[in-house]
Symmetry: C2
Subunit: 135 residues, 2 copies
DNA sequence: TATTGACCTTATAGTAGCTTTATAGTTTAA
DNA sequence: TTAAACTATAAAGCTACTATAAGGTCAATA
């Protein structure tokens, strides 16, 4: 299987696959005589794992960490769970921050209708005067 | 006022001020004979505006756009409000996505306790098997 | 006077996670 | 045979800074 087929199979760009290889997330595959990369099913699974982690918002460093656990399957999985717990609390604090931000933006938006000149725009005035009740 | 004083006044790093100048967000200030930048109160206001926009999550490009409206104060402020509306809906969709993600992560986490080996870890198995009910 | 320290200058690189571009060699179908 | 589609590498671009390097300026101190 060549890189384009693998890319299509998993739904990523070929460059992304090379990028993961370069970052040490995918093992370097064998090469044909012409230098083309040849992938096995294992690579497909590895790549799919990476993509699912990315969809879950894990960083490449965190994925790397998970892979190192996979390479040593007889240790307790406490660390895996801890990584996920950390990530969950990270996501939660992002949500909280964004909700506070949304409130701020909505109240700023409420300070203007569309029927003014820029000079008198409530939104611009609000930002300029710093009427920004912090979180 | 020199760059260090301005930086302290507004609460940013000196490099950030030079960066904004380079990006065209702050007008280039006059220079002393020795080449040091000299800032006025106007610059302080401009920088504070930028920072407040950043705190609201606006991109430098969006800030640039707002500045162009400020430079032409007699047009209607519809575009300003539209920019903010776009930003609000962007923030909202981020929140929605993160909430869906949180759900997914929590259910994944629930599939394992800490008392297993990595080999049997429910979290890793969940990711590997792709039991990821998409949004 | 010499030097120390705090400040300023520019230019360059690093961060995350790719994407884009440039340049070039290879394979395959018409 | 020639063009399309694929592959390769290397390097730059994206965002919004932050950090580092190497050096010039200035005031106070020993």
């Amino acid at each position: 299987m060549r890189i384009g087929q693998l890319a299509q199979l998993v739904g990523v760009e070929t460059q992304t696959i090379r990028f993961y290889e370069q970052q040490g997330l995918l093992p370097p595959p064998d090469r044909q005589d012409n230098g083309y990369r040849v992938y096995t099913e294992k690579h497909g699974e590895g790549l799919a794992f990476i993509r699912r982690c990315r969809i879950l918002g894990l960083s490449l460093a965190e994925i790397h960490e998970l892979q190192s656990y996979q390479d040593d399957p007889h240790q307790p999985c406490t660390a895996v769970n801890a990584l996920l717990d950390d990530h969950i609390s990270h996501v939660r604090s992002q949500i909280t921050a964004l909700q506070a931000l949304e409130k701020q933006l909505v109240s700023l938006r409420a300070s203007c209708n569309d029927e003014r000149e820029v000079e008198a725009c409530g939104v611009l005035a609000g930002i300029s005067e710093g009427n920004m009740h912090q979180q």
